[in-house]
Symmetry: C2
Subunit: 204 residues, 2 copies
């Protein structure tokens, strides 16, 4: 694809560096922007630039925030004694939108994965260990992906915190809603049988 303008070519190149956007989609987006008012496009680019420059990460939980402390940590109505450990900000957004959790978070920034060169020091595990005595934490809820890396991370954190008064839990793993039992993998099915629930607790 050869374009008749270097400016256009450069813009297409920038867009096609975004994940999941190929050269054709990038061209479509750029031509769309070209049809918009100059002020609108200026606002688009300024918003992106400002977002990257001014956004902060909460100093307590590493969630995204406009201030030093995120709205969840500074919300007096939330249960301070429960911390949900997640991999990234998208997980916080996903859990928040269920409206089923009222505690705090701790964003690890990833999971331990030696093959990808991610050890415990690249994650915010030490910060988590420092938080716990300060905040009088009673429970750590792990909401990590059900992978070997996720399980390793749970194991590591639990060992590192080494606190017998802390309750460690993990989000339930089992057959998803709408999932067909016969198509579930053995591992999931096995875990969901071993961790079966009383029907009373299930129908609430």
């Amino acid at each position: 694809m050869h374009l008749s303008s270097n400016l256009l070519e450069a813009a297409v190149k920038e867009f096609s560096r975004l994940p999941g956007i190929g050269k054709k989609t990038a061209l479509r987006l750029v031509l769309h922007l070209l049809k918009q008012e100059e002020a609108e496009v200026a606002q688009f680019s300024e918003t992106i630039d400002r977002m990257r420059k001014e956004i902060k990460f909460c100093k307590t939980c590493f969630n995204i925030s406009d201030l030093d402390q995120c709205p969840i940590c500074s919300n007096a109505g939330r249960k301070k004694e429960v911390i949900c450990v997640v991999e990234n900000i998208r997980d916080v957004i996903a859990i928040e939108s269920t409206e089923q959790y009222n505690g705090l978070y701790h964003v690890l920034g990833g999971v331990i994965s030696p093959l990808d060169g991610i050890g415990p020091d690249q994650l915010t595990i030490s910060a988590l260990a420092e938080r716990i005595p300060k905040e009088n934490t009673k429970e750590i809820v792990f909401a990590l992906s059900p992978t070997i890396q996720g399980d390793t991370t749970i194991y590591y954190i639990r060992k590192k915190l080494n606190n017998p008064e802390l309750r460690f839990t993990t989000i339930a793993r089992g057959i998803a809603f709408g999932g067909e039992l016969e198509f579930a993998d053995e591992m999931t099915l096995a875990k969901s049988i071993r961790n079966r629930l009383p029907v009373d607790s299930y129908i609430q």
Copy 2:
């Protein structure tokens, strides 16, 4: 979806205004940019902004260009006596990438479509009429979408130019390569039978 940062929320909103990008994809793109270096994101937003502000349209054919005249119009090696009339810039790019056409272009900016409020005055038809005597044009190739609006536009332009010395052609319409005959619509099949070609001209 509630986000813990207004800056993030604003950036997601800007991205989700682009065609084909929903809120979830926008969030994915924004979080990707957030992980990039500040300088890279600044370059991204600056490139987009500059592109919108500085890009020009060729004064002759209305193709996108960095200068007043696009590289196609100013290329001495191209056949000046053939003008291919297209709807938009994307069509120029598509035809150019076939490497089968060596004439000039004329970008209409759309097709006549009274239902969408697009009349001949919104298009660059008068500019096309002015070009023809100057450039000693011998042939107009219409490469418009095979729709009622496209056909109306062809009809209108032909009537408006009203020049018996001009040859008017249109790109061939027929069964696409790899297309199954039995699934072709009647209209296309009918046209491709009526406009059948000698096998010699087809196998070249």
